[in-house]
Amino acid sequence: MGKIIKYVLYDILQNKIIIAYTLFLLVVSVSMLSLETDTNKGTLSLLNIILIVLPLVSIVFATIHFYNSYEFIELLIAQPLQRSKILLSQYFGVTIALLTAFGIGVGMPLVLLSFTEASSMLILSGALLTVVFTSLAFWASVITNDKAKGIGISLLLWFYFSLIYDGLVLLLLFSFSDYPLEKAVMVFTALNPVDMGRIMILLKLDISALMGYTGALYKQFFGSGYGTIISTGVMLVWAIVPIAFAVRIFNRKDL
């Protein structure tokens, strides 16, 4: 498996997109962190950009990479290799590349320029979001042979988690505003990795007071060390389930 990951990484480095992505993240984080005098504010601005850009780049890059490696996958399938190993090597290769880009582009400036509890949480949730959305991308790519369809599904997933989902939750909250929804809202948050990533960081920024009673409940639950472990766990479920489904489908796929 290690050998295949090596070739996948080599292939990713051949096209320069991953390097451009690293540089982009680096420029954004350094400028955000040095423009704001208040480190918490800088972290918050960075958070908003990361929550949009990271999932989008992860899911689109991983999907395109999968379709571009189709030849490579075809070649490997006829070799004495396990199918699940081939797909997982692709997954780990892409994840390692994206995590490295994130580590250099965002992790390094955060550690050097403003190392707080909130920024370490930002690094954790950013890394988890990368893993989750790469996993979703592989699931989307495996279910169809059509490249355009695959990228379409990936983009829809991103739209859903980044934009549509929050709208739906708001709608729900307004329609049922007469009922106590605090517990339900917590469940809704766990059902969306992007929201999960956001909550993980916001609660470390001491602005949860702005979110009223729900915020207090959040703080009580997610703010503790216990909550961090649970939210990391939920994110890992979000990473493992799609890739597990992808492996299942891939094992039975005709090539």
Binding site: D11, E71, L75, Q79, P80, K253, D254, L255
Partner: protein, 243 residues
């Protein structure tokens, strides 16, 4: 060596393979022939585990190939259209394949006859995307023979090759026949197969229309050339179907 029983495969509404029963043994060179779209490539891909059959069983040395992957270390496969990673150079491709196969087998005795015959070393520095169709075909052929596997599956090996290279490849196949290997070849160029094959498998609409040794075939039809013999059989067969 390879036994196939009651193999069925449908793609959507299209029935591609319809109850195929056949067995291949070592030392045979089998020509798999049939009209376009008769299911030859699908059949071959089923043997390789690239296409999952709907029904039926394929055994390799007595063991079912379902959920197995180790058996593929005994097969060299040359695809109809060889598709390779664009960014990779020819030399890197060979290195990578050696690297990947090394873990699966303990002692790999590589067979570099074809690499030398096709003078692959001279194009080691070229990226795969710049190669012509024929050159890719040569790369595929080299890869199939590289690990000296006891079974070779060649899908349209000579299409796209220049006459000299096609001749070199045929020589190589003939040599493999002597070392008691099993070779499956699909081709439309029957004259290519004439000097090589021991058995002929004719697939028609996803079914085995006939499976005979070359001698049987020639005896029954009274023809000397494979092409004519097959034309003869098909004509008779179709007449029978009409009656």
């Amino acid at each position: 060596m390879i036994h196939v029983s009651q193999l069925h495969k449908t793609f959507g509404n299209l029935k591609v393979l319809n109850d195929i029963n056949i067995g291949f043994e070592q030392g045979q060179i089998v020509a798999v022939i049939g009209p376009n779209g008769s299911g030859k490539t699908t059949f071959i891909k089923c043997l390789l585990g690239m296409v999952m059959p709907d029904e039926g069983q394929i055994t390799f040395n007595g063991k079912t190939i379902k959920n197995d992957w180790n058996y593929r270390s005994l097969i060299g496969y040359m695809p109809q259209i060889g598709r390779y990673p664009d960014n990779m150079k020819v030399g890197q491709l060979f290195e990578m394949m050696k690297d990947i196969r090394k873990s699966a087998e303990d002692n790999v005795q590589t067979d570099e006859d074809l690499l030398e015959a096709f003078d692959m070393k001279s194009i080691y520095h070229k990226p795969m995307r710049t190669l012509s169709g024929g050159t890719r075909q040569k790369v595929s052929a080299c890869l199939a023979f590289l690990f000296n596997p006891p079974v070779l599956i060649l899908d349209e090996p000579t299409t796209g090759l220049d006459p000299l290279s096609a001749e070199l490849l045929k020589l190589k196949i003939a040599r493999e026949k002597e070392s008691n290997k099993l070779v499956l070849i699909t081709s439309h160029i029957l004259s290519d197969l004439d000097e090589l094959v021991t058995n002929v498998m004719y697939i028609f609409e996803g079914d085995v229309f006939f499976y005979k040794t070359l001698e049987e075939l020639k005896r029954e039809t009274g023809e000397e050339k494979l092409g004519k013999a097959i034309a003869n059989i098909i004509r008779q067969g179709h007449k029978k179907l009409k009656d």
